[in-house]
């Protein structure tokens, strides 16, 4: 037990220690985005990897969350199980919170871990040094392209996830809870509020930055062979998912 607390303490300490460096790292990679050359091929392969190959897992999780939301609302609030209430709760929770957070966590596990491991391996096997000697700035070639890819891909995933999630709620509401499909759809459209969507997309954007920057940072600064690669991967997934779950609170607070 003490060991666990010890570990948590150590992790959070090093997280704070790294915070300044990570901010600098972010600005650096952002800066290099606007300098020539732009490595389009790198960007494209990263974008496809995040946007396209994460679709199944993001779709599946948001679909089931939409379904469970409808079910929970129905059984939890006895007096409010009409079309209007259920559709409103499903819609707002998905748009504001569940869509972005679920997509963020899924991408964090899938893509963040991969980015960290890939870049850490390149670091410990001198491939990053080799890039430098081949007149290619590693920051621009590896990090900026990944940053841009996730800044675009995560909001895209959230958008798709939102639609699938709301659809999941609709399925349960009409097929399992026997609500009126037309009424449900009309009240979903009535309850749509673009501010909710924007809030979710801003979260997605922030999560995209968090995932790519955190993973790349720990990968880029990895040292010490295979163990170092493992360490970089673990710490980046832990840090990024923690940051996702904390930052969503602060972004929500901005909108209240």
């Amino acid at each position: 037990m003490i060991k666990i607390f010890n570990l948590i303490g150590k992790l959070s300490l090093s997280t704070f220690e790294n915070l300044g460096k990570i901010t600098l790292f972010f600005f650096m990679s952002f800066f290099w985005l606007f300098k020539k050359p732009f490595y389009f091929k790198q960007f494209l392969s990263q974008f496809l990897d995040i946007a396209f190959y994460s679709l199944p897992v993001v779709g599946l999780t948001t679909f089931f969350s939409g379904m469970v939301l409808a079910l929970q609302t129905f059984s939890g609030f006895d007096n409010f199980n009409d079309e209007g209430t259920i559709s409103k709760i499903v819609l707002t929770s998905i748009l504001r919170e569940l869509g972005p957070v679920l997509a963020g966590l899924m991408v964090c596990g899938r893509v963040g871990a991969k980015m960290a491991a890939e870049i850490a391996t390149m670091r410990v096997s001198n491939q990053i040094d080799a890039l430098e000697t081949l007149s290619t700035r590693p920051m621009q070639f590896l990090i900026s392209t990944r940053l841009l890819a996730s800044i675009i891909a995560v909001p895209f995933l959230v958008l798709v996830g939102n639609i699938i999630g709301v659809f999941g709620g609709f399925i349960v509401a009409t097929f399992k809870l026997d609500l009126n499909p037309i009424l449900y759809m009309i009240s979903t459209i009535d309850n749509f509020n673009s501010i909710d969507l924007i809030q979710g997309l801003i979260k997605a954007l922030v999560f995209g930055i968090i995932i790519s920057i955190i993973s790349c940072y720990f990968g880029f600064n990895a040292s010490g062979g295979a163990e170092g690669v493992g360490r970089a991967t673990t710490i980046s997934v832990v840090t990024a998912s923690t940051l996702i779950l904390t930052s969503t609170y602060f972004i929500t607070a901005l909108f209240i």
Partner: protein, 182 residues
């Protein structure tokens, strides 16, 4: 006025913590000169080379390549000075997500407009001098033997005919005959 050297290293010192690896190294090389550095394992040969490649910042001293001090200058000048250098690393350091020919022509294909066929031909002409088979062009570094990786790394270093070449243990991992022929 003294003659201009291609590489001028003055008072180069590197230490990691209290561990002094290089202590006031002086080194001068002019064009067409070659130098072999031999030393005990762990004596700092690779560290010296990393300094010369501009990867490791020394604690003290200066390194001038073609007149530009790569230690105490801005990033752009340093990048320009290092453009003319080809290097290999002790462990090869090939990009394992790229095929052999992509590795070899990495520097050229980076910019747009260098087509695939020309790049492959160029890679082929280089590896033939290194006694490598043309079948390996489409393979990934992990599918090569250690010595083959080493030779591909050399091919990558010499691909754009740089003025200066730094090799870190180019012949380790090669059999004596292959090593000698190259």
């Amino acid at each position: 006025m003294k003659t201009k050297n291609l590489i001028d290293v003055k008072n180069l010192s590197v230490s990691f913590g209290n561990n002094i690896i290089l202590n006031k190294i002086n080194l001068h090389l002019s064009k067409k000169e070659s130098l072999v550095i031999i030393g005990k394992s762990g004596s700092g040969k690779s560290v010296l080379l990393k300094c010369l490649m501009g990867i490791l910042k020394p604690n003290l001293g200066s390194i001038k390549i073609d007149g530009v001090d790569i230690v105490n200058t801005n990033r752009t000048d340093k990048e320009n000075a290092l453009k003319n250098i080809g290097v290999t690393f002790q462990n090869g350091a090939l990009f394992d997500s790229l095929t052999v020919w992509e590795n070899i022509t990495f520097k050229e294909t980076r910019f747009f407009g260098f087509d695939k066929k020309a790049a492959k031909e160029k890679a082929l002409s280089i590896i033939q001098n290194l006694e490598l088979d043309k079948n390996i062009l489409e393979l990934y570094p992990s599918e090569l033997s250690g010595g083959m990786q080493k030779r591909v790394a050399i091919a990558r270093a010499i691909c754009d005919q740089p003025q200066v070449l730094f090799f870190d243990e180019p012949t380790s991992g090669l059999d004596p005959i292959t090593g000698k022929n190259n």
